[in-house]
């Protein structure tokens, strides 16, 4: 029993063949065939970023911008959601006292946040 090969040897062989075939397909279709077939003519204009035909002002998209935009975007999303809630509420409003106070409490919660953001100076662009 010790001298005979493991019954799982064909599984290992299958695994190795699958790996080899996969690698061969990748190499042939990704490296060898394109090198033979594709037109390869690098030009300066082709290697520059596409900016609708105008010379690009900065190289690539990895430039830095102010963190102020982040704050404005956060506040925008907050109050945008408020408006998104307000609109269907106003359309469906049937002058029930309960719905009125429910919405008012929601607005009051956001108002506290608004006053807080204002007080912290989040709405001032130049500081």
């Amino acid at each position: 029993m010790t001298s005979s090969p493991s019954p799982f040897l064909p599984v290992l062989l299958l695994f190795l063949i699958a790996l080899g075939v996969g690698a061969a397909i990748l190499v042939v279709s990704g490296r060898i065939l394109p090198g033979l077939m594709k037109p390869d003519n690098p030009q300066r204009a082709k290697l520059t970023p596409y900016e609708c035909g105008v010379p690009p002002l900065q190289e690539g998209a990895r430039h830095r911008y102010s963190v102020k935009f982040y704050l404005v975007a956060m506040l925008f999303i907050l109050f945008d959601v408020e408006t998104a809630f307000l609109l269907p509420w106003a359309v469906q409003y049937k002058a029930h006292l309960w719905t009125f106070w429910a919405m008012l409490s929601f607005l009051a919660t956001l108002l506290v946040g608004y006053v807080y953001a204002w007080g912290k100076g989040a709405l001032d662009w130049e500081r």
Binding site: N41, Q43, A45, K46, Y50, G53, V54, P55
Partner: protein, 202 residues
């Protein structure tokens, strides 16, 4: 056992015609729409005229992925270097169709501000007349381009495009030497070609 005739089962052809057959039936259009011809182009791509039937299914808005530039509308002198840059950035091999009289010859805009035909700055393969041309006319123009592609030689097309790159290199050199903006340089090159009696700068 049936008689096997080699002529019935084997087809011989040239490499040019096989490659061109594939090229003409897989055009990727890039619209350079500047005027009303672009409105007609929308109609051409939409279901009624269905331009996809002619092998130009995939419309792309990036020159990296397209090989047929459709210039739809008036091109001013200031847009001339933009058109040249976009043509240069397209994938090879590439073809240009001038759609409408403005792109073909400047049309009614016989003014100092308008390029009198885009063939002055980029090599045009097919001119489609009309102001604007109907979608049928544009489709006919592209079918003419397909006929042209099936006739041309691969090396001929390659050299044709290479000549344009040489003129683009000359434009960049002039721009550096004279310190002018790109449209001023292209304008100078067009005027210079005009004085020499040539119609184009490429």
């Amino acid at each position: 056992m049936a008689n096997l005739n080699l002529d019935d089962s084997v087809m011989t052809t040239r490499l040019d015609s096989v490659v061109n057959w594939a090229r003409k039936n897989s055009l990727w259009p890039l619209p350079f729409g500047t005027a009303c011809c672009a409105i007609e182009f929308m109609s051409m791509m939409a279901s009624r005229y269905d331009f996809s039937r002619f092998g130009a299914e995939a419309l792309r808005f990036s020159p990296r992925q397209s090989d047929m530039l459709l210039v739809l509308g008036t091109v001013t002198n200031k847009q001339a270097p933009v058109l040249r840059q976009i043509y240069a950035q397209m994938a090879e091999p590439k073809w240009v169709v001038a759609v409408g009289v403005c792109a073909s010859s400047g049309g009614m805009y016989r003014t100092y501000a308008t390029l009198q035909g885009i063939d002055r700055v980029v090599p045009v393969d097919v001119y489609v007349p009309g102001c604007p041309p109907r979608p049928e006319t544009m489709i006919f123009g592209v079918m003419e381009l397909q006929k042209k592609i099936s006739r041309e030689s691969l090396m001929g097309r390659k050299e044709h495009i290479e000549r344009f790159y040489q003129s683009l290199a000359r434009q960049e050199d002039l721009q550096k030497a004279k310190g002018l903006s790109s449209y001023q340089v292209v304008r100078e090159m067009v005027l210079e070609a005009g004085h020499k009696g040539e119609q184009q700068i490429w």
